[in-house]
């Protein structure tokens, strides 16, 4: 290997971008609504990784408290992810109860 093996900000951002891209691929290409939700959670995970990496490596922060703002942001992202998962899964169960399917190719009309 020619490059240095010690991880830098760029390495973490590449991993974060890969997780985000794979999550968006899952969210856009899966047929089951619950699988789509799993893709959205993966995307949020990639964003969290980028936030924490910037908080650790960023040189533009005045002090440690400013750098830890990234951690506070991740706490809020976690909160929103939990709320979103609860509501989305409730919607999936509700749609299943009415249509007996969560196949997004067959739930394409806005109302029925």
């Amino acid at each position: 290997m020619s490059f240095d093996l010690a991880p830098t900000l760029g390495h973490y951002l590449v991993v974060s971008g890969l997780v985000f891209g794979l999550g968006s691929a899952v969210a856009l290409s899966k047929r089951n609504a619950i699988a789509v939700l799993m893709g959205v959670e993966l995307m949020l995970n990639g964003v969290n990784l980028a936030l924490i990496a910037f908080s650790r490596f960023g040189a533009a922060f005045a002090d440690d408290a400013a750098a830890l703002s990234g951690h506070a942001f991740v706490v809020f992202v976690l909160t929103v992810a939990a709320a979103e998962a609860a509501v989305a899964l409730a919607l999936a169960v509700l749609v299943y109860r009415r249509r007996e399917t969560v196949d997004l190719d067959r739930i394409s009309s806005m109302r029925w």
């Binding site: 390495h11 991993v15 985000f20 995970n45 991740v74 706490v75 939990a82």
Partner: protein, 179 residues
């Protein structure tokens, strides 16, 4: 990042995370996909530990690998007649291409960005010894408004989820409106 242990942990954990995410995309069974999703979550928690984010790593394990995974298991079990295969929809090819394009774009921006980045001595100085107290002060100090809004959001989301999946009471039963 002076130790080689952190470097080894970074490469192993990022392989675990990206591999888990890839297998979520590729696995044919929805429950297997969920297991690989949990693997990816745990790998991300390990990456948080290599970034000295101890509180976030524990919260990640509790909320993502614990609560959200259990919620997804419940959702899968509550939709028994739906198909269990993790099949692709009609738009699979453009979706996967778009995801790969997003990943390539982010990777290019990450490697070409020229971020103002700490390295060496300054990086070792930044290493947070414990983040819990500082995060608590930030959440109840500078970000207290967002903190309260988040608590209201959680309350509304939970009440909304309960209202959405509540069974409709049978007509004329116990309401006192029907004669």
């Amino acid at each position: 990042m002076e130790s080689t242990g952190v470097a080894v942990a970074f490469w192993l954990l990022s392989a675990l995370t990206v591999g888990g995410a890839l297998l979520v995309l590729l696995s044919r069974n929805l429950l297997h996909a969920l297991v690989f999703l949990v693997v990816a979550f745990l790998g991300t928690a390990g990456l948080f530990l290599t970034l000295s984010a101890d509180f976030i790593a524990v919260a990640q394990i509790l909320i993502y690998a614990g609560a959200i995974a259990v919620l997804i298991v419940f959702a899968i079990m509550l939709t028994p007649l739906a198909s269990r295969d993790n099949a692709n929809s009609l738009y699979a090819v453009p979706g996967i291409l778009l995801g790969l394009a997003v990943a390539a774009l982010v990777a290019f921006a990450a490697l070409d960005g020229g971020w103002p980045e700490l390295a060496g001595e300054a990086l070792a100085e930044r290493g947070f010894s414990s983040t819990v107290a500082a995060i608590g002060e930030l959440l109840l100090g500078r970000y207290v408004l967002a903190f309260e809004v988040a608590s209201v959001l959680l309350l509304f989301a939970l009440v909304g989820a309960i209202v959405l999946v509540r069974e409709e009471p049978p007509a004329g039963d116990g309401e006192g409106r029907e004669p």
